[in-house]
């Protein structure tokens, strides 16, 4: 596991992640690459994720 500054090619999806945003590239055995990027504006987005978990906690099914 590493966290380090890396020089990446312009065609790498992570190169398109603008300032202040976050993104994750997942690689699965069958589905291959899934890329998720999101605009992060501040605590409201984190609070939204918390609220969504509260809604899930209320649901009988898992996700």
């Amino acid at each position: 596991m590493t966290v380090s500054p890396k020089m990446i090619r312009p065609d790498d999806a992570l190169a398109t992640v603008n300032e202040g945003n976050m993104a994750i590239k997942y690689t699965f055995k069958t589905s291959k690459e899934i890329f998720v990027s999101a605009q992060f504006l501040g605590p409201k987005q984190t609070a939204y994720a918390v609220l969504n978990d509260i809604v899930r906690a209320n649901a009988k099914s898992s996700c």
């Binding site: 596991m1 500054p5 020089m7 976050m22 994750i24 699965f28 990027s37 994720a49 809604v55 898992s62």
Partner: protein, 290 residues
Amino acid sequence: MKIQLVGLGHVGQSLIELIDEKKELLKALGLDLRIVSVSDSRGTASDERGLSPTEILMYKTRGWKGFREYVEGFGALEAVRKIECDVTVELTPSTLSGEPGLSNIKAALAAKKSVVTANKGPLVVAYRELVRTAKKNSVRLFYEATVGAHVPVFCMVESCFKADELQSVRGILNATTNFVIGEMQKGKNFQDAIDEAVKAGWAETNYSDDVDGIDSARKLVIIANALFGENASLKDVKIEGIRHVETLVKAARRENRKVKLICEIARNKDKLENDRFAENDPPRRRFGNC
């Protein structure tokens, strides 16, 4: 559903605003939310009939003066132990020791309350213990907000890729460092870029955890434990921050490339095979929060 909130910083207050803003939508989803207590570092306000979100925010701003439901000195841990509710929402600041969030979460799970948290610290320090305690007490532990705020991570992998095998994760998990490096790529030096980040609200005045890569590493540890079945801690992450990134940024500009603070983890096949043999439980399916 009765919830209690522990921690009333930026995220806690934003959550209360959202609960108020989305109350009709929440009702439509069948969720009648009642905030039965809120605790900050000084005390706790509680009412089993439910506190008004508007009043919580107003009185918090006024230092709780005149709010009859607020008891100074009634600490968060005591509130978690004593106040009845369905879900404890733990939002205290993330620390290396995991405290005070770790004790709050343990107390909530022991009291058979489900827990929702955005606090990375406790999960970095004691992920397996917390997941096991939740399972033992037939309650649930949710932590989607610990990694990447609203970027779908745990629930997406659990719900959309159940029949697949996650092999690696590579990401940009810290918005502050992405902003700072972006400013440096425009020509600023590190200190000017940091100053700009603080001015623009992207960085706290104490930005060490962000620029030294600690915040990113904490998120990576949670991903390792939750999605790869590891039993990792911060010491398992090779961490390099961005304090000395100027030379790399200059080289990238010359080569028309970008510099990013990249977090990476790949499946450790040997370790996971041993793990699987030991516990007879495919690690891929050992999700804690769903």
